[in-house]
């Protein structure tokens, strides 16, 4: 029933990430020379028990839901467990969640084709799968009770893990019926509940299952792994991207008490020690000479100047780099009557800056490879590990732990810090566990940033102030460049949010183009990906157009949504405007700004109340309305909106990574300022009622906050914001 993942499965209706992750799968498989499905099933444990790979039921009737998705804050474990518990009619208060092993042919993300978490897809891709699993298990208990009590199955009800037959007065818990239920052959397509009859999904009873462990210090993260005979490794990394080790002198490092050995590995020089502090001191004592002949030495000032020139038709484009169209209709070269609006926008490199710096534990010996860490795309981590240790990917065991945040950082096609740990563990050998610890400085300077990005727009408006022509140029690195098959055409992740925007749908003439230069700086998805910059450009531009037209920004947007048929945008905008009291004056001393953006299948509208204190924006309250389909865990949707606002606001206010001669200048939280408690707004979340399948909430709360703040400042003093962050230090 669990068919192996085949390359052809990846073709139909594939999304961008699906294709690329699929390609990684195929690429890795080719390397070891047989079909990916087969490879990934080798080493997989198949004894899932009577209720399948997603449900375990103990002798006392306690239900454990197996999550194929990592939990690093998004609250997906709560939502995934609730989907099963709803259909199973399990006692929610006793439901537990366990993390699945890495077994792609069982636990693949149905939207990706490999096992992995990302693109705010955990709930969405699991919705039918877990409802079916829960309903199937419920049917087994019902059938077992019907047979045991000799009553019709249709007369049996289940509530809170208790199976009852009212007429006969018989009832039994899941535990009592376990042996009988386990013998029932599960039906392939059990009847699912009518969502109108849901008693758990959509209620505030759906709460996190990990809050206690995460409040008493017992939640286990990679940093907390301590195994017998384990050593700790730190790596001296190159000061510039692309530099290599010429030579090193470990004499002083080896004199540090506790240092065990020093090894050269592809990414630098690793110091292996008995404990973390010895590894750190050993690394400090190490002398490394770097070969920087192939290193990236450009600074961000130079890059920004180049990007601006290229978007403005000046300067010489790098060899083989061409403008590519992402959206075109009508003839943008034909002169159009009307007022012209032009603007440029600049966005810096951003670090994910997760609270837990990247780390990994690896045990490698002949025939065994085990990784213990917060693996976001286990299949890719298995493939990359397999290449190094010469094993079949399916035989690489991964125990996935909680991770202290990701925001995109751990979904990395190169498995950068993972392979670094594997290389060290291979050198150490004999299956001795190695914990690779990155310091904050390692984490900040390793790259994988949100790319530096430049936008240039030229818009012609009609007599009512609405766009008749929209020319849009984007310069940004491709996120796909480092993938196994770099996209030959448009890398949608660079322009998503501009591409497909309702404002472009409502504009007759559109010419959208993207230029994707190649740099030595590694870049990666950063919570909400392309929307981190496109939402700002679209939403702040629209507000400026509305104000030029003398129209209310909400009314102006609604008129454009009407033209574009963007009914979901209109619905969340109306809801947030109502909740924020948009038609009333803003609270005294505060200015208000609005923004709306669709990402990952969800549409979010936000109204931010802002004032300037010594020129620095202070955000007091943020009203948020979200359409994410049917709401599984309303309180966790609210939590993701609160978190998304803070993450987006932190970047908009302060986030900026700069390079000086190619070297990262911000190495810790002293240089890379992030939002703190006193700077956090109060977020109120309103969920649009919906009967549609659930869509994601991990990322969609991020994009609107930056432009909402910019629009509030625009409303306050007429000043547009043409580069982020707002606060320059």
């Amino acid at each position: 029933m669990n068919a192996p993942v085949k390359p052809q499965d990846l073709k139909s209706g594939a999304t961008r990430r699906e294709l690329v992750v699929g390609a990684t799968l195929v690429g890795g498989a080719l390397l070891v020379g047989c079909g990916p499905g087969d490879i990934l099933s080798i080493g997989a444990k198949k004894d899932f028990g009577a209720f399948g790979p997603f449900i375990k039921i103990a002798a006392d009737g306690a239900v454990t839901v197996i999550s194929k998705h990592i939990e690093f804050g998004q609250g997906n474990h709560a939502g995934l467990a609730a989907i099963v518990a709803e259909e199973l009619d399990a006692d929610w208060s006793k439901v537990k969640v366990e993390q699945a092993a890495a077994i792609a042919n069982v636990y693949a993300n149905t939207g990706m084709g490999v096992q992995g978490t990302g693109g705010s897809s955990a709930i969405n891709n699991s919705w039918t799968q877990l409802r079916t699993a829960g309903a199937g298990a419920r049917a087994m208990f019902v059938d077992a009770a019907a047979a045991k009590w000799s009553v019709p199955a249709a007369e049996i009800s289940v509530k809170d893990s208790v199976v009852s037959h009212t007429k006969s007065g018989k009832s039994a818990g899941f535990g009592d019926l376990l042996a009988d239920a386990a013998k029932i052959v599960p039906v392939k397509t059990p009847a699912l509940k009518d969502p109108k009859t849901f008693t758990l999904i959509g209620t505030d009873r759906v709460r996190r299952k990990d809050s206690q462990a995460k409040s008493d210090g017992t939640a286990r993260f990679t940093q907390d792994v301590h195994l017998p005979n384990m050593v700790v490794a730190m790596v001296a990394h190159a000061p510039r991207f692309g530099a290599k080790v010429t030579s090193f002198d470990a004499t002083e490092a080896k004199k540090v008490a506790g240092v065990v050995e020093v090894y050269q590995i592809p990414t630098g020089v690793a110091v292996v020690a008995d404990n973390t502090y010895a590894a750190k001191k050993g690394r400090e004592a190490l002398k490394v000479v770097w070969d920087e002949t192939k290193a990236e030495t450009r600074g961000t000032d130079k890059l920004q100047t180049d990007y601006t020139d290229w978007a403005n038709g000046k300067g010489t484009l790098p060899e083989k780099i061409k403008w590519q169209s992402f959206e075109a209709k009508g003839d943008a070269t034909k002169p159009t009557e009307g007022q012209v609006f032009e603007a440029t926008y600049d966005f810096p490199f951003l670090a994910h800056a997760t609270m837990e710096p990247m780390n990994c534990v690896a045990e490698i010996s002949g025939g065994k490879a085990k990784l213990t860490f917060g693996s976001q795309i286990p299949t890719v981590d298995q493939l990359n590990t397999a290449k190094i240790v010469g094993m079949l990917p399916g035989a690489v065991e991964i125990e996935t732990l909680f991770a202290g945040g990701s925001f995109g950082r751990r979904a990395n096609f190169q498995s950068d810090y993972v392979t670094e740990c594997v290389h060290i563990a291979k050198k150490v050998g004999k299956g001795r566990p190695v914990k690779l610890v990155w310091t904050r400085e390692d984490d900040m300077t390793a790259g994988y940033f949100r790319p530096l990005t430049h936008h240039r727009v030229k818009i012609v408006t009609d007599k009512d102030g609405y766009p008749t022509s929209w020319t849009h140029k984007v310069v940004t690195q491709s996120l796909m460049k480092g993938s196994p098959i770099p996209s030959k055409g448009i890398d949608a992740s660079t322009v998503e949010g501009a591409m497909g925007s309702p404002y472009l749908k409502a504009t007759p003439v559109v010419d959208g183009q993207v230029l994707m230069p190649e740099l030595g700086v590694p870049v990666l998805w950063w919570r909400s990906v392309g929307a981190t910059h496109t939402a700002f450009v679209m939403e702040h531009t629209i507000d400026q157009l509305a104000r030029k037209a003398g129209k209310d920004p909400v009314a102006y947007r609604l008129a454009m949504y009407e033209k574009a048929g963007a009914t979901r945008h209109a619905a969340v905008l109306k809801l947030v405007a109502e909740k924020a009291g948009w038609t009333n004056p803003a609270p005294a001393g505060w200015s208000r700004g609005v923004a709306v953006h669709e990402s990952f299948g969800s549409v979010v509208a936000q109204v931010a109340e802002v004032k300037l204190m010594d020129g620095v924006p202070k955000v007091g309250k943020v009203y948020t309305a979200v359409d994410c389909g049917i709401a599984i865990a309303p309180d966790q949707i609210a939590a993701q909106m609160e978190g998304g606002v803070c993450y987006g606001l932190s970047a908009a206010l302060f986030g900026k990574v700069t390079l000086k001669d190619g070297a990262v200048e911000q190495t810790n939280f002293d240089g890379y300022r992030v939002l703190r408690n006193s700077e956090a707004p109060t977020v109120e979340t309103y969920i649009l009622p919906s009967g549609d399948p659930p869509t994601g909430v991990g990322e969609p709360g991020v994009p609107p906050i930056g432009p909402a703040v910019a629009n509030a400042i625009l409303a306050m003093n007429g000043q547009a914001t043409n580069s982020l962050p707002f606060v320059r230090s």
């Binding site: 709460r207 973390t276 202290g404």
Partner: protein, 154 residues
């Protein structure tokens, strides 16, 4: 070289060098994993523990100066501290990595000011970064644990 530290009410003989930051002694030698490593320079607060009741960043505090002082980590709160109950009730944590430090800063705050104002909370909690953005729930939970109405700050 050996010294003794008092951690969560127990005297523990420590073999580490005196210049070793308390965090690494707690984690690697004492075996307490509640206090977390985040930045190593006292900027993020994930490593916060109490020394004689005052919150300190253990990542940048050498053990040499801590002889005879009472060190308390998240493990000392016991799991049912009023703050921990409020944290769970409000589902404060997301990724959870910063929360041990957040709770220790909050515990020190409530010990000093049982009914903290918003300004008190700002001052006590600004040293603890949360990248998931759980700040407003942290504020609500502190107020709830203090028996105050959890109204939003103004």
């Amino acid at each position: 070289m050996a010294m003794t530290l008092e951690v969560n009410g127990k005297s523990i003989a420590i073999a580490a060098d005196p210049d070793t930051p308390l965090l690494w002694v707690l984690r690697d030698e004492v075996g307490l994993t509640g206090p977390k490593f985040g930045c190593g320079i006292g900027q993020c607060g994930a490593c916060t523990v109490l020394v004689d009741g005052s919150p300190i960043r253990s990542c940048s505090m050498p053990i040499s100066g801590l002889a005879g002082m009472k060190i308390s980590t998240i493990e000392s709160l016991g799991g049912n501290h009023a703050l921990q109950l409020a944290w769970v009730k409000n589902d404060v944590p997301q990724c959870g990595y910063c929360q041990s430090g957040q709770l220790m800063s909050a515990a020190a705050l409530l010990a000093a000011k049982p009914k903290p104002t918003d300004a008190d909370i700002d001052a006590a909690m600004d040293g603890n970064i949360c990248r998931c953005g759980t700040y407003q729930r942290i504020r609500s939970a502190i107020k709830e644990a203090a028996g105050m109405p959890a109204a939003a700050k103004v």
